[in-house]
């Protein structure tokens, strides 16, 4: 046993230290599962917390689909669960708005940002670049704990008397700018908790993101040049950069909002009359909030979709046994999306009285995003074209992602035109567009990642048959829920009931159909949960001390199956080639740490 002084060892050659694998860190339950600083454990924490939020967010949508599908029916069992929020078995108007608000907040931020980026950035970045952990494992742990506490605050807001925030996930003032609007219960304490929860969430995201970027740029193993990184790492790094630049704007927006709410300033409020009484607010503008909100809000959709794109690129290449098509084009497209994401936010604001000339510029930039997106779609299809595709659950979900991304992306081109958007604003067409292109698509990317890397996380496989059933129900179901929304011409979103509009009566059966499918799809996700938790304990085990179940090239499969803080017992493998040598030079696959053979050129 080697001995060493107990002072902290910055500057010490850690490879040397880790050369002795018997030096296992004594872990207690607390340090192993709760206050872990190991990126793999933090990844699991993010994933399981994200899954919890996925169930909550999905359940909320099932509840409001009951109202939308059968507006005249009553469901007495709801009253026993929800009490005063569903008196007589009918969801109250206040609670309906709380449901859609929290559904949006939870799924956008807690599942598809925290759950998705948190899980895969933590799992993949250190593993795939060949690093023992993040730049600062401590800050990484903090990131998770801020995420968890943000969630606790949000969850608590469901149990207060006035209910959770209910002014829309976009939190627009003036509805959310006053603590007592007289019309919206959720604008009270519920919204303050929303704001606190979001502040904690933003801190969590930023702490995570600065770690991810620093890790990728600084801690790559020997030979791992940027152009040898797997696309998943590229995508996760770009995601982090988008977050770093955009989340602070939302924080500023929320801080100003809380100033208005708690300290009676007038940043967003102007000449408000409630019950015939003119309030003292003067000079503010709610449009200012919209600018601050959408300066995050739009990049946010790329924060959600970029990790999914990275995961899918990786999964498709591995499971089609072919090099990724257009590696550099993929990176440049990611970069183009990153830059464009910051100059399109006003396309959410075409109906705010935005100067039409400015609207034209935002339309132009918005439509430009179609170019890198189309390049990526082309490259994914090029990757699986004539490949030896293994239709595993992971591969199916990755292909499903591409399908969803195309379907939803095409309506983006329609909505990006300001002249059309003014007609379609706040209709179900918009709901269809963003649920398909970033909601379902990002979920598919996440599922692809979970099925693919589950063996890396838990040393066991998930059940393949259940995974495929999960896939087909989710794919067909999602299209059945969201595709008809395109044709509900002019049906406004967020309405509690359409009963008073004769025009929309012919959609009643369609709405009921969508609600039934929504319930079925929700139950299919429970199937995934059962599969996940069952497989943690009883799944088919990986064979051997080192296992590479998908014959993959990336470095995460060169580490032992057993979880080890530091990832590799000996030296970190050195990298000699890019990540996509599949079916080249007569070999089915060649891991990145295999030295070049005679006559082989480095990629």
């Amino acid at each position: 046993m080697q001995t060493a002084p107990s002072v902290e060892h910055a500057g010490v050659d850690t490879d040397h230290i880790h050369g002795h694998e018997e030096h296992h860190h004594e872990e207690t339950f607390l340090t192993k599962y709760i206050f872990s600083q190991d990126h793999k454990m933090i990844s699991k924490q993010f994933l399981i917390t994200g899954m919890f939020w996925g169930v909550v967010g999905g359940l909320l949508s099932v509840l409001f689909r009951l109202q939308l599908g059968w507006p005249n029916e009553t469901f007495p069992f709801l009253e026993s669960f929800l009490g005063k929020w569903a008196e007589g078995g009918r969801i109250s108007q206040e609670f309906y708005y709380a449901l859609i608000t929290m559904h949006g907040t939870i799924l956008v931020f807690f599942v598809l940002t925290g759950g998705l980026s948190g899980t895969f950035a933590n799992l993949l970045i250190p593993f795939q670049i060949g690093s023992r952990d993040m730049a600062s494992p401590f800050v990484n742990m903090l990131s998770y704990w801020f995420f968890l506490s943000a969630g606790v605050v949000m969850l608590f807001s469901f149990f207060i008397q006035t209910g959770p925030a209910s002014g829309g996930w976009t939190a627009y003032p003036p509805l959310n700018g006053l603590r007592n609007t007289g019309v919206n219960l959720g604008s009270g304490l519920g919204f303050d908790m929303w704001a606190l929860g979001m502040t904690l969430f933003i801190v969590s995201s930023l702490l995570g993101a600065l770690n991810y970027v620093s890790t990728v740029l600084n801690l790559r193993t020997k030979g791992m040049s940027m152009m040898r990184l797997p696309l998943s790492v590229w995508a996760l790094m770009f995601t982090a950069i988008v977050g770093i630049l955009s989340f602070p704007a939302l924080l500023a927006g929320v801080v100003l909002l809380e100033f208005d709410r708690l300290l009676d300033t007038s940043f967003y409020l102007n000449n408000i009359i409630i019950n015939g009484q003119l309030l003292g607010y003067k000079g503010g503008s709610p449009i200012l909030f919209e600018h601050l909100f959408w300066f995050l809000g739009h990049p946010e959709v790329y924060i959600i979709i970029l990790p999914a794109m990275g995961i899918v690129s990786e999964v498709l290449a591995v499971h089609s046994r072919k090099p990724i098509f257009g590696y550099k084009a993929m990176i440049i497209s990611l970069m183009a999306i990153l830059i464009l994401s910051f100059i399109v936010w006003a396309h959410h604001m075409f109906v705010t009285g935005l100067n039409p000339n400015l609207g034209a510029i935002f339309t132009l930039f918005t439509l430009l995003i179609a170019i890198p997106s189309a390049i990526k779609v082309f490259n994914w299809i090029g990757t699986i074209w004539r490949g030896k595709i293994r239709l595993t659950a992971a591969a199916l979900f990755a292909i499903g992602f591409v399908s969803m991304f195309i379907s939803g992306g095409l309506t983006g081109i329609i909505l990006g035109n300001s002249s059309i958007d003014i007609q379609l604003h706040d209709t179900m067409f918009v709901v269809a567009h963003f649920h398909i292109v970033m909601g379902i698509a990002a979920f598919f990317g996440m599922f692809a990642g979970v099925y693919h890397w589950f063996p890396r996380l838990y040393g066991r496989f998930m059940n393949e048959t259940l995974g495929q059933i999960h896939f087909y129900i989710t794919l067909i179901g999602s299209y059945c829920i969201f595709f008809p929304m395109h044709f509900m011409t002019g049906l406004p979103r967020r309405y509690y009931s359409y009963a008073n509009f004769d025009t929309f009566n012919n959609f009643n059966n369609l709405a009921a159909f969508m609600s039934i499918v929504a319930i079925v799809v929700f139950l299919a996700q429970l199937l995934f949960l059962v599969n996940f938790f069952y497989s943690i304990f009883k799944g088919r085990k990986l064979e051997g001390e080192y296992a590479n179940p998908w014959d993959s090239n990336t470095l995460e499969w060169t580490a032992p199956v057993e979880r080890l803080h530091g990832n590799w017992p000996g030296d970190i493998p050195e990298v000699h080639r890019w990540a996509y040598d599949y079916s080249v030079n007569g070999r089915p696959f060649t891991p990145q740490n295999v030295p070049l053979k005679d006559g082989e050129a480095a990629h």
Partner: protein, 208 residues
Amino acid sequence: MQLTLSDNNLITDKKEYTGVHPQKFALWIGMATMTMFFAAITSALLIKKGDFRVWESFRLPNIFMVSTAVIIAVSVVMQLSLYCYRHAKFSAFRWLLFTSFVLALVFLGLQLEGWQKLKEMGLPLAGNLAGSFVYLITSMHGAHIIGGLVVSLVFLVSAIRSRKDPIYELRNIINPKRQLNLEMLVSFWHFIDIVWVYLYVFMVLNYQ
């Protein structure tokens, strides 16, 4: 004693890619996030100022000039303390760290006095938007100063504790990791001082 895989051991200070310690690099990215935050707030001010119907012009109280001088002094003293640390003058290091801490507190006090002055000028927090922005900017900057003070306090406490305990000093004061952390603390203070200078100049230009 067995060597453990403590988390500080996991990350080398390898500098082959960017030439900077990864944790220091992460701090810089953190500074980028704070820059974006203050950029968002100051651009909000510019947007509202463009609306001449609601903007009430006034001159920034002079006390903020004093606080600007104080915060520049914080930066200088902080840098000196780092210099002394590097040259193993630990007694001077302790005193300078303490002085910077006190100066930062003085800065916060001056900002509070500035709020008082604004109130006397007829610009309460919930009054005209132009005034509200000064409270907003100073309080958000102040929150970052308080954050810096908390970390400074941790250093200060261990520096004072090490005064009479050479073993403690060896373990907790004099080691490369400690120097790295101190360097990061000092750069945070420089950063947040520069942010204030920016905010001050920005406000002087927009309130006249």
